[in-house]
């Protein structure tokens, strides 16, 4: 049986209490300190949920990140926030990165954006291709100027680079950028939400990263190339669906994967469902790992 892990990269949804606190903050009805306290409570609750689910790497849920780019844009020279842009078929928006000059991270991400965690952890950052998307700057320049300096200060078992935009082209540019990011923590490229078939056919499995994430709600299992030798981040929790997954179905699916190392993950950020739904999905992610292990025993 494949070596099996489970974890949940990406932005995690806010609790109803944090939703209310941030709404109150915007309306002048509470203080930033009170919101900070609620974020800490949300974080503690998330860590407990991840530990209870038996996840192998803990993630901080990026609870202070407004979107996948904002803290980096605010900490970088040569980049700023652009137009509010819809993310795929969701009603969730992000501020698209906009270039104003040569990109340079002027200060590392602090504990507000990479929270201290107990035990082995993962960190999620945008992939260089995603951060460069639409700016006119090459992914390699973004990697050199912004992401490499951000990575240099990180202590993590795994850094997951979230990539929602990559199509059948762009792989060469992405590969050049990923080369720059090597030499530090292990890296995984997480192809969020979408059929990875064309990317795989064009060589995504050969990219210079330790792991590759694939959305198996859109990608056929047979599209994973023979001899795949990286950690496969198998997107088996559908973060755009409110339906809770069936752990036994996931276990049966994992049996069909002909790879050596598998990590069960969502197929994208869980922020696209509510916290109540995400909690259930997180629990089922852990149950799926257990069910897979039991099925193989």
């Amino acid at each position: 049986m494949a070596e099996l892990q489970a974890f949940a990269p990406g932005i995690y949804p806010r609790s109803e209490a944090l939703v209310q606190a941030t709404r109150d903050l915007d309306r002048g009805r509470t203080t930033p300190e009170a919101v900070d306290e609620q974020i800490e409570r949300d974080l503690a609750e998330l860590i407990s949920a991840e530990q209870a689910a038996g996840l192998d790497l803990v993630a901080d849920g990026m609870l202070r990140w407004q979107d996948h780019f904002r803290p980096l844009l605010e900490a970088a020279e040569g980049l700023e926030t652009g137009a509010l842009t819809r993310f795929r078929d969701t009603n969730t928006f992000f501020r698209a990165p906009k270039a104003t000059g040569e990109p340079r991270l002027s200060q590392p991400l602090d504990e507000r954006y990479v929270a201290p965690l107990p035990g082995p952890r993962l960190v999620t950052l945008p992939s260089p291709y995603a951060l460069a998307h639409g700016t006119g700057i090459s992914p390699r320049e973004i990697a050199e100027g912004v992401l490499k300096p951000a990575l240099d200060g990180l202590a993590a078992e795994l850094v997951v680079l979230a990539e929602p935009f990559l199509g059948s082209d762009g792989l060469d540019d992405l590969a050049a950028a990923l080369e720059v990011l090597g030499g530090g923590p292990k890296l995984a490229l997480w192809l969020e939400f979408g059929d990875a078939k064309s990317a795989l056919q064009n060589g995504a499995a050969e990219l210079p990263v330790d792991g590759l994430g694939i959305d198996f709600y859109a990608t056929h299992v047979d599209d994973v190339p023979q001899g795949f030798d990286k950690l496969l981040l198998a997107g088996v929790i559908d973060a755009r669906s409110s339906v809770p997954e069936e752990p036994r179905e996931i276990a049966a699916f994992v049996e069909r994967l002909e790879v050596e190392q598998v990590a069960l993950v969502p197929n994208g950020d869980l922020q696209y469902v509510s916290q109540q739904v995400a909690q259930e999905k997180l629990a089922r992610l852990g149950k799926a790992k257990t069910a897979t292990t039991e099925a193989a025993a």
Binding site: P13, R14, E16, V19, T22, R23, L25, D26, R27, Q66, D67, A83, L84, T85, R86, R88, D89, T90, N91, T92, F93, F94, R95, D195, K197, F216, Y217, A218, T219, H220, V221, D222, D223, V236, D238, R240, S241, S242, V243, E246, E249, I250, F253, R256, Q271, Y272, V273, S274, Q275, Q276, V277
Partner: protein
């Protein structure tokens, strides 16, 4: 020659409505808000509301009707030609529709952006209408408004694409099966047309029966999937086909190029009100280079059925108040592109509910003043 001006959708709910709805105590500043805005925009009998708020324990529905009156007068006072009440009698554009429909269940709160959120539901069964859900509002506004009314209704495609679908999408069997876009789109089509036929159309018929002559079908979600634009068009046509009314649609925060050529088949839409200012420069100027946010408007001009363009000239995501001169230049550029001022209406990019009333009011006044400046410039040019 004058440009018709109109609102797009929502306005912020005032603190005295928010707190009353939540059963919270009002501050003196809330009462003052009601008093000062009542005087500022000329709400008849606003002293009655002030007394009501001072006494405490007011009925939230009654306070919401007052808020509706305030927003009507706010827009009339700003000088808009066609108005609505900015969603004061609705919870929100998605939640209100879903709350009055059969076949949906709530699934919690999801972030829209930053600290803005929305309640998201799942389609769990066949869609049905409990009762026409804008009739009471429209009848009330007919009794209040002095200006012409336009009533917005959230469109079928947006309701579908903003919902989870637990009814048409298979619950099992998708994992690793290459469940492709074709199947996703077919599931979305079933849900969207179900909503168009059984939720939107009956509402439109009821509003027309009450006397509505301009209905804006809001579709802010229309372009979220480039390969579903034909479905958006089909759902619009199914919703309005054969009905006698001026139908418009509102599109915002999208890559508008995506709508072409799909909307060539949407000839029942007589006006597109579209947000452009969000993408535009704040510098003055009337050339194409000066107005990058408006580059796409020639495509709306070239539609064979010659719809009117509702030109978004106010960025609703910022407190920056556009100068009348900036509004003027955006209009003049659009007139230059269209070659026919009669095909241009002027409006904000979208609803102004994320702005304070102070900012929204100043923006709307600038919009109206910008129209006057544009009219003067065009008049001078023809003399």
């Amino acid at each position: 020659m004058t440009f018709l001006t109109h609102e797009i959708g929502s306005l912020a709910k005032p603190p005295w409505l928010v707190k009353t709805s939540q059963g919270r105590e009002l501050d003196p500043s809330d009462i003052e808000h009601a008093r000062s805005w009542g005087e500022k925009v000329g709400v008849e009998g606003h002293e009655e509301l002030v007394e009501l708020l001072e006494r405490g324990g007011a009925d939230p529905d009654e306070v919401a009707r007052w808020s509706s009156r305030y927003c009507v007068r706010l827009q009339e006072s700003a000088g808009l030609d066609v108005i609505w009440d900015g969603e004061q009698l609705r919870s929100e554009m998605y939640a209100w529709a879903i709350a009055h429909a059969n076949g949906f269940e709530p699934r919690g709160t999801v972030r829209s952006f930053d600290n803005k959120y929305y309640s998201k539901s799942a389609a769990t069964g066949p869609v049905g209408l409990r009762e026409p859900y804008h009739n009471e509002e429209f009848s009330f506004l007919q009794s209040v408004a002095k200006a012409r009314l336009k009533i917005p209704i959230t469109g079928a495609y947006t309701l579908a694409v903003w919902s989870y679908d637990e009814h048409h999408t298979p619950k099992e069997g998708r994992l690793g099966a290459g469940y492709g876009r074709k199947q996703e789109i077919e599931a979305r089509r079933e849900l969207t047309l179900d909503i168009a036929r059984n939720l939107i159309r009956p509402n439109l018929e009821a509003l027309i029966e009450l006397g509505a002559d301009w209905i804006q079908i809001d579709e802010p979600g229309a372009s979220t999937e480039a390969d579903e634009l034909d479905l958006f068009v089909e759902s619009f046509n199914v919703s309005v086909e054969g009905l006698d009314c001026f139908f418009s649609t509102h599109l915002c925060f999208s890559d508008y190029d995506l709508f072409f050529p799909a909307i060539e088949g949407m000839s029942g839409c007589r006006q597109y009100c579209v947000g452009f200012a969000n993408y535009d420069s704040r510098e003055l100027g009337t050339s194409g280079a000066d107005r990058p946010g408006y580059e796409v408007i020639s495509k709306f001009r070239d539609l064979s059925y010659e719809p009117i363009l509702g030109l978004g000239v106010l960025d609703i995501h910022t407190d920056f108040v556009e100068s009348p001169e900036l509004v003027r230049d955006r209009i003049l550029y659009a007139v230059e592109v269209f070659g026919d001022p009669a095909r241009i209406h002027v409006c904000p990019d979208c609803g102004l509910r994320t702005r304070s009333w102070d900012v929204a009011y100043e923006k709307l006044r600038a919009l109206v003043e910008g129209c006057r400046l544009a009219e003067e410039a065009l008049t001078r040019a023809t003399v």
